[in-house]
Symmetry: C2
Subunit: 402 residues, 2 copies
């Protein structure tokens, strides 16, 4: 049998999904599992999206333009204008999810072996895209003690070498929920200008910023017209993860032109997804307010609740819908497996994502887990209770010092 490739056998499995077999096994035993491990919101997709698809009247489901349907690109430029980002539709390439925007940007700007500096913990699938593109992620560690604020610029400077080509930030951050301030972003601007790097920003959680904090986009940093590259997606904005529509945006025309060649190779982004996404542009402030209020209530409830559990600490996230918990255990992964394999509280358990997979530095975040507060309040209440009971048993069993 011919051998697989190294990048086939060594590609890391998703830490969010690697415990799925244990969850499935628990369900087969009749245990109810609360999924705090994955960012699949239960929020309703706008009806306008479904209506547009129902009313879409063609005889043939044809390819669209490789850059996306022009009316959607124009509509999307209007959305950006409404959130204070002034770009032309020609700066926008519609992609198959935010994932493809990242791949295309890596392909257009990075050679194999090039390095991208990313604050860790980071969205674990960046690892997959880096393997796919043959580029190296260089982590700069952020810490739970500072709420995962941007590491000092000195720490970035130390990591910059001849292979460094870009810095990537996710803002608001998945998995930490941290929202980078305008000041922090300006520090990054000075850094990338000084070293002639690209600044990639994944801003798919733009709509979810709490406590009066405003989101600041890398596209609004002056002087970065040729450096700033935005990855975006409608998945979380309109709770339509399944439609697989994202966007790659840059004022650097060379990047968009190069990315479009990759877009042409894959012919077209999904037709129905684009129809749904374009229709979603029509939703008003009401939709966002309802969704926002719901997430805010969930965040406030859940982060407060977990902090009341003995030995647990979670900084209050300022954005997105994730939080990192420090747990009174040696290995959060062992604990997460145990929750699914051995524990239940009145026939129920919770599934968390061990945070170690979000770190690139070996051993970092070993006692941490990520939660996504995407379930309704009753389920979050129940989840917090189960977690509390589980830790009582686990800490006693393993003899952890609190």
């Amino acid at each position: 049998m011919p051998e697989l490739s190294l990048r086939g056998s060594e590609m890391p499995a998703s830490p969010i999904r690697k415990l799925v077999p244990y969850a499935e096994e628990a369900k087969r035993r009749g245990i109810k599992v609360y999924h705090l491990n994955i960012g699949q919101p239960d929020i309703k997709t706008p009806e306008a999206a479904f209506d547009a698809i129902k009313n879409f009247d063609v005889k043939t489901a044809e390819y669209t333009h490789s850059a996306g349907i022009e009316s959607y690109r124009k509509g999307l430029a209007g959305y950006y204008k409404s959130v204070g980002i002034d770009i032309s539709f020609e700066d926008i390439l519609i992609t198959t999810g935010g994932s493809e925007a990242i791949i295309f940007a890596f392909m257009a700007t990075l050679n194999p072996g090039d390095e991208v500096i990313i604050p860790e913990p980071f969205y674990t699938n960046y690892n997959g895209f880096a393997v796919q593109a043959g580029v190296k992620i260089i982590p700069v560690t952020s810490y739970i003690e500072t709420g995962f604020a941007l590491p000092p610029i000195d720490e970035f400077e130390k990591l910059i070498g001849p292979k460094t080509k870009a810095v990537l930030v996710c803002n608001p951050n998945n998995p930490t929920g941290y929202l980078y301030s305008e000041e922090e972003l300006r520090q990054l601007r000075d850094l990338v200008l000084k070293h002639n790097l690209f600044l990639f920003a994944d801003e798919v959680y733009r709509e979810f910023c709490y406590d009066g904090n405003k989101h600041y986009s890398v596209l609004n940093l002056k002087g970065l017209e040729n450096h700033a590259v935005l990855f975006d997606s409608v998945s979380k904005r309109y709770s339509e993860c399944g439609i697989r529509i994202g966007a790659l945006i840059s004022r650097n025309k060379k990047i968009i032109d190069a990315a479009l060649k990759y877009g042409q190779a894959r012919l077209s982004p999904p037709l129905f997804g684009q129809i749904a996404a374009e229709a979603s542009l029509s939703v008003g402030a009401d939709y966002f307010k309802e969704v926002y209020d719901e997430y805010l209530e969930r965040r406030n409830y859940m982060i407060t609740a977990v902090n009341k559990i003995e030995g647990v600490y979670a900084p209050m996230p300022k954005g997105a819908f994730y939080g990192i918990l420090s747990l009174p255990v040696e290995s959060a992964e062992d604990f997460c497996v145990w929750l699914l394999k051995e524990f239940n509280y009145e026939g129920e358990t919770v599934m968390l994502a061990p945070a170690e997979g979000f770190y690139s530095t070996p051993g970092a975040g070993k006692n941490q887990a990520r939660i996504a507060y995407v379930l309704k309040i009753e389920d979050l209440k129940r989840s917090a209770k189960i977690l509390e009971e589980a830790l009582k048993v686990y800490v006693k069993k393993t003899g952890t010092q609190l």
Copy 2:
């Protein structure tokens, strides 16, 4: 400004699409353009596909399983059974178009720098996927004189070296319309077994085989369980190119497992596309017969018509809906540009795809163009007439010897 990557700037633009600006300019001048350059059929998508989407009743458009919706994978295994291919749904990974199946297979099996032998002319986007994966395509030339039959196995043998990892065939072939015989496929089987290579097959035109010829799948070659990898797509089968649903299929579990990790990184294939594709499985022999008869009539008409034009030769394709024309011109690309920029016949012109972009060997196929006979008969009639008139003018103008 930071430099783009080499693979960003050197990625070839699609030869099918590179003349699009000329076509757009012609349309702005009021010229009607018949698009023979692109395989976008005008055939109707099954109503069942649209109905399923209209009736799909959920509140949230969620991610699906990264490997695809299980009921669709099971249904698809049933489709393969119906065409004589016996595989389990677990051997099937649903992908975002056939394009993603190719990328995932390359990632799972090939290291950067590895070589894949492909008979040329070949589907031009293989170049894009090869650049994306950092692998090298080694062409083995097939010739118009033999109707683009499989080159002798000796020619493959000559090209096999330490970096050779796979052979890729498209069957029936885009761009040539050639259908590989069972005997030719057995020769390839012996070759890949002898040299321990993978055999990739792109069989997206399986339904379109003419003149009583039967399609033979690489999955039915004995002894290739760990070597054979199938790329498939519903785009052409049900004329639903825009839904972006394909599949990667292999009995080699390691390949599917490795590909699934790439699938997890991009989360999920498109939800609505899968709903449409699953519903399309219900179409009966009637749908296929109608579509088949339509293509057959178009093929018979168009290939006969172009062969009547002085200086033009086109072998009769045995499958798919493409044909390669040898033209009485020095450069088919110059002629194709001229058709759009300078020529019109009663206010109309045709757009062809210069075949040079389908060859990897420099200069090969320079006087050839690919046509897709995906337009209705009246339009094909008109296109043939325009092509005939255009060649009269062009040959006279350029002084080509017939």
